[in-house]
Homo-oligomer: 411 residues x 2
């Protein structure tokens, strides 16, 4: 494995800083899908790609795509990348890191006039966070040829439709489907991304090998009890929705641990939410994730059974409405094998971990084997201005991505 | 005990309807302290008092007070009454019932040209609900001579100060203290009020003898954990504020039952309250009431100990800030003895119950022995347009109040 010189990581760092300056909210990093800030970011990346000898363009879905040819014209393609959009008031690394690290990999090859048995493409997706258009992940969906037909009609918070936003971005919404790479699918899609969690930091490891992207079930739970005067209804005559909801929330935690899933109740609303009124109804969110679809299903079934028992015991109703449910996506065995080998050369322990967050790989897996490398981030923080990595970890990440790419291209 | 004729209850019923029509929100019953609607209600009650032969006036705190002399000029006074203000969108009976029933008691005496060894005064307090001026209960506080010095400076939701509201009501805020009856304290204060709870309905009893008004401790509890990504932070690395708060809420229920207190968490706020973010902090209200101050203190101490254990176990902070704490006020033994005797003549079982809600008696107890009779209300509902009693229960309530008054006056 080649060892990066410090200047390579410094250059990547400066590029990350330059992208961070592309924002639609001064003082914050806010670069939503198809925004003017994203257009500036795309232009920067396009320039860097061309500078280091790649052919590059914006695809019909707004993704910036650069190509560095392999040893032969008909060589297969290894695609590296991530997304260039951010959440509102986000960080510098969630997304851009994978694009800039990919650029460094190619730059290293190009500066050594070296070509691999595979071409390398770098992609910077235009819409992964889903902040602007109701959870859409258009960039990689378009590349995977799975754009939902209603996508152009979706509207952002200002009432601007996705179709109009695409036009304002200089593209034609009718041609988005042409971004599909189903016909020219890559040999592999490899993404470097910050972990967005505390595992690597806790294990004192710069990098981790991602085993897969967890499936996620999301539900809205409604507890319907009986409101009443906080001072006058005896404890044994109550149907207190908030006490019942509390029992439900503890059941979620207990069952999730039992099935080794990750489950979160992050949102709760209580009605009438007055200090002197027994809660008449409570709604709360349920988010449960696992790399094992079977575990997730079994946990959800157990949770629903626990809710029913609580409802019966407390003489009220608990209703669970599943709003979305996606299966887990496993990373490719060959690619993760390569990454494990690469990480074994870097440090004493190889940390393997699932991704609990969604990524572009979820869509890219429809057309290519996928793999991901996680980079340790401070306090597990992401989607926040304090999102932080070290330049040393960046350098190690570039090395690992480069080695993975070379080994994957060797076939 | 005299038996009411039907026409007496019907007249009281019509008076309650006439008061319900005094509102500042058409289509609802909203008669806040010192509002134009309360002024109309006061005028109605003043008229009825004079009609039935009482001397009557508005006192310097806006309370309407009528007097029916006893057998001698120096006879002691039994005061009957309740409040004429309501919450926003309230009901017909919470408050007015006690005033109108008192009027019926006097009317019965007057129409029989009968006088008791005690004078009877009827009071309709101007401010009990505390809806307008931050929980103030000015009417009975003024009569008890315990008005907080800052009261005139308090402002309502529109920025109008209580002092200005009093002036608009036609009174002088500087003279509120003249409403004090410390010097001419009544022999007894007896209030008929709807139960506002489900106990009498559950026991199939029209009336109940109130043993006392529960003391109440109110606190704001803050749970400070650590926000994080719902998909990426393993269950055993979390400091989830909402799961901890849920455990706290169940502890409140458990301890309250153990100490035979009534405790309610009616309000909860979660931050950032997003479906995909582990709760960083949660605040919730705590309301705990008991007729036994010792039980309440012991329960609160146990709850705080439980919170501390939860905090330690979950590696987060739980802070409890007590915002108010009042002792219980017991009803007078002699008066409740009379009421028990009266109720025993009415029905097979005499229900004795505490009042979990606050009442004017809390303040009146500073200057006089107090007692209360509760009237069964439908579904235990109060502070709501569907607040409901039957005309039969109203008739029985008037009878009981009349008998209580006669026996109390007999000394």
């Amino acid at each position: 494995m080649s060892v990066s010189d410090r200047s390579e990581a410094q250059r990547a760092w400066r590029r990350l800083e330059a992208l961070a300056a592309c924002t639609d909210e001064p003082g914050r990093i806010t670069r939503l899908a198809f925004s003017p800030a994203l257009k500036r970011a795309n232009a920067l990346v396009l320039g860097w790609m061309r500078e280091i000898g790649m052919t590059a363009s914006i695809d019909p879905a707004g993704n910036v795509v650069g190509r560095y040819e392999g040893l032969s014209v008909d060589a297969p393609t290894i695609m590296l990348g991530s997304h260039l959009d951010t959440v509102r008031d986000g960080g510098r690394y969630d997304g851009p890191l994978g694009v800039i690290a990919g650029l460094a990999v190619v730059e290293r090859l190009a500066s050594a006039s070296r070509r691999l048995p595979a071409a390398i493409e770098i992609v910077g997706f235009a819409d992964e966070e889903g902040t602007r258009f109701g959870g859409s992940v258009l960039g990689s969906m378009a590349m995977a040829g799975i754009v939902p037909p209603d996508w152009p009609a979706r509207v952002d918070i200002d009432g601007v439709s996705a179709g109009k936003a695409v036009i304002a971005f200089g593209l034609d919404p009718a041609r988005i489907s042409e971004a599909s790479r189903r016909q020219k699918a890559p040999l592999a899609y490899v993404e470097l991304h910050i972990e967005q969690g505390p595992i690597l930091e806790g294990r004192d490891a710069a990098l981790g090998c991602v085993t897969g992207i967890a499936g996620a079930l999301r539900a809205k739970v409604t507890v319907s009890g009986k409101a009443g005067h906080a001072g006058t209804v005896p404890m044994d005559m109550r149907a207190d929705s908030l006490v019942a909801a509390s029992e439900c929330i503890l059941a979620v935690e207990r069952v999730a641990k039992q099935f080794q899933c990750i489950a979160t109740v992050g949102q709760i609303r209580c009605h009438p939410n007055a200090t002197n009124v027994i809660a008449g109804s409570v709604t709360f969110s349920l988010d449960i994730r696992s790399l094992e679809d079977g575990s997730k299903s079994a946990a959800v079934a157990d949770i629903v059974r626990a809710f029913a028992a609580i409802a019966e015991n407390r003489r009220l109703r608990v209703e669970t409405e599943v709003t979305s449910n996606t299966d887990a996506t496993l990373c490719d065995a060959r690619l993760t094998g390569i990454i494990r080998d690469v990480l074994a050369e870097i440090g004493p322990t190889v940390v393997e971990l699932p991704s609990g967050a969604g990524h572009d790989g979820l869509n890219m897996a429809h057309i290519a084997p996928i793999a991901m490398i996680f980079v340790r981030c401070k306090d597990g923080l992401s989607h926040h201005p304090d999102e932080s990595i070290t330049i040393d970890d960046l350098a190690i990440g570039i090395d690992a991505l480069s080695a993975t790419c070379t080994m994957a291209a060797a076939g």
